[in-house]
């Protein structure tokens, strides 16, 4: 089989085309958002919100409401609960996050088990990328477009919020609103990515691309390009690998992203392990 055949063969199947499209869409939006999450220091919060939206998604399913609505409600609920526990007891933030997201996630599991539906628990937890229907694809595309547009249009405000919320306040912007906006986008994006890699691996797509891009550049504008491109490429590679190896697609998408991060971690020109070592040596030589 020629290399071209290897690439084209999976595309004969509609489910593979849908899988690739969905994954790339989710990868791009998650990667964009991840640039802010890693800089604000919200990685754990991304983990928490992506798990905590589960009961919201199930309830929305039962009521026939949009998944995104349920996810938003529970995303904000989770953050409010975390804040309340931290603010009104001696429990520290990391413990508060752990308590809230696991409890809400567990509530989601219980709700799934008593809900008569075709939704397979495994699909929610590990993703069901190969079983994405056209209707799912449309929903994901709509949500992703909204998140993408808001992120791109408000990118400068969000960056200011991440860098210096005091200054944002001083010039009459509302850091509280910008924080809530970022949070809402996080909940929205979690729903998008849920179907691709599942609840457990969503957090990988929300952290790895931003962290990787952060090691490659000192320009936030460049991060916003590098992260989505890198994430999209890794996702496509992951999906192809899963086809050829007949292995878990969600898992492979994340493994490939992790591998890319490892390469960058070692070889990045300035902020990589080798790069830092070389700069340090050059300094000692000139000194």
């Amino acid at each position: 089989m020629s290399p071209l055949d290897l690439l084209l063969e999976p595309l004969q199947y509609d489910f593979m085309v849908r899988a690739l499209t969905t994954t790339v869409i989710a990868a791009v939006v998650c990667a964009l958002l991840s640039c802010w999450l890693v800089l604000v220091g919200w990685s754990l919060m991304g983990d928490a919100v992506s798990h905590a939206v589960l009961p919201g998604v199930v309830i929305a399913y039962v009521l026939g409401a949009p998944f995104a609505l349920g996810a938003l409600v529970f995303g904000f609920l989770a953050v409010a609960l975390i804040g309340a526990i931290r603010g009104t007891s001696r429990v520290k933030e990391d413990a508060a996050i752990g308590i809230v997201f696991t409890t809400l996630f567990a509530l989601g599991l219980v709700l799934i088990s008593v809900t008569p539906s075709q939704t397979d628990l495994n699909h929610i937890i590990f993703g069901n990328i190969l079983g994405v229907s056209t209707a799912d694809l449309v929903q994901i595309a709509v949500l992703a477009t909204i998140a993408f547009a808001v992120l791109v249009l408000k990118r400068r405000d969000l960056t200011l919020y991440a860098f210096d919320p005091m200054h944002a306040h001083a010039i009459g912007l509302s850091p509280r609103f910008l924080g809530a906006l970022l949070l809402g986008l996080l909940a929205l994006t979690a729903v998008v990515a849920l179907q691709v890699v599942g609840v457990i691996l969503v957090v990988a797509m929300l952290i790895i691309p931003g962290a990787t891009a952060y090691l490659l550049t000192d320009r936030f504008g460049h991060m916003l390009v590098i992260a989505p491109v890198m994430s999209a490429v890794c996702s496509v590679v992951g999906i192809y690998l899963s086809y050829w190896l007949d292995a878990a697609s969600g898992g492979l998408v994340v493994v490939v992203q992790g591998a890319a991060f490892s390469l960058v971690y070692v070889f990045a020109p300035r902020h990589g392990l080798l790069g830092k070592h070389l700069t340090a040596r050059r300094r000692t030589v000139t000194a």
């Binding site: 306040h169 010039i171 320009r219």
Partner: protein
């Protein structure tokens, strides 16, 4: 009722701020005039940061009120009247923004919802960078500047913003003597433009060269007047406790 008295740039009337049980500000009344550099002196935990946050409206007073240029702080913020130079330890110096990006953030309040920069914004940023002598460093990542240059970059942000009131939180921490002199000169020039410069510090050495007047704070205003009088041992002893005199003698107050 109209008065002939010039409107104070910052007016605080009987401001009380409590954090739970802790009384951070206990009836602070303060009137800061424009066109002057005022030093806000007090030890750590004396309420300096709370005072700044109250002026910026980040903390709402439990009692009393604050006026900026005679207006409500929220109005002053929307008009971009208040500029802020943060303490070094409050800034993430590894953040991937350039010096120019930081200065451009001063313009956001005057731009549309997506903060797209117009020629006037670019011109204001270039002028501000020139004023603080950082034009050559404009495209560096912010953390690649020296301590003094970093401060000047944030002052440039306030200039680009055209802030009338500039608040600086411990601007001399981690800054060498030469950069300190540059910053002092810059702040005096900005005051001469008619701006109000309020500098919080516990480093008393720069004070005589920097400030036109000094405020001693220990939850309340202990003293407000000339710098040399503020630095008298009996006044410092009240602000810093009995060690106040040592602060001036040995210098390493950081």
């Amino acid at each position: 009722m109209t008065t002939a008295i010039q409107t104070a740039a910052i007016q605080m009337e009987d401001v009380v701020v409590r954090y739970g049980e802790v009384l951070a500000l206990d009836g602070v009344s303060l009137s800061v005039q424009p066109g002057r550099v005022t030093g806000l002196i007090g030890m750590n935990g004396s309420g300096k940061s709370t005072l700044f946050k109250t002026i910026m409206g980040m903390v709402r007073p439990d009692r009393g009120r604050v006026l900026i240029d005679g207006a409500d702080p929220a109005v002053a913020r929307r008009q971009g009247l208040v500029g802020y130079v943060p303490q070094s330890e409050d800034v993430d110096w590894a953040f991937p923004v350039s010096v120019r990006d930081v200065v451009m953030m001063g313009r956001y309040g005057r731009q549309g919802p997506t903060r797209r920069a117009h020629p006037a914004d670019h011109a204001a940023v270039a002028e501000a960078l020139d004023r603080v002598e950082l034009t050559a460093y404009a495209d560096r990542q912010i953390g690649q500047l020296s301590g003094g240059q970093r401060k000047r970059a944030f002052v440039a942000r306030g200039i680009a913003q055209d802030a009338r009131v500039l608040l600086l939180d411990e601007p001399f921490a981690g800054v060498d003597k030469r950069s300190e002199a540059t910053i002092v000169r810059l702040l005096k020039e900005l005051a001469a433009d008619g701006r109000t410069i309020l500098v919080s510090t516990h480093d008393l050495h720069a004070l005589p060269r920097l400030a036109d007047e000094a405020v001693l704070l220990l939850h309340r205003i202990l003293f407000h007047g000339g710098v040399s009088e503020a630095l008298r041992p009996e006044n410092l002893a009240r602000a810093f406790g009995l060690d106040g005199v040592d602060v001036l003698d040995h210098g390493d107050s950081a």
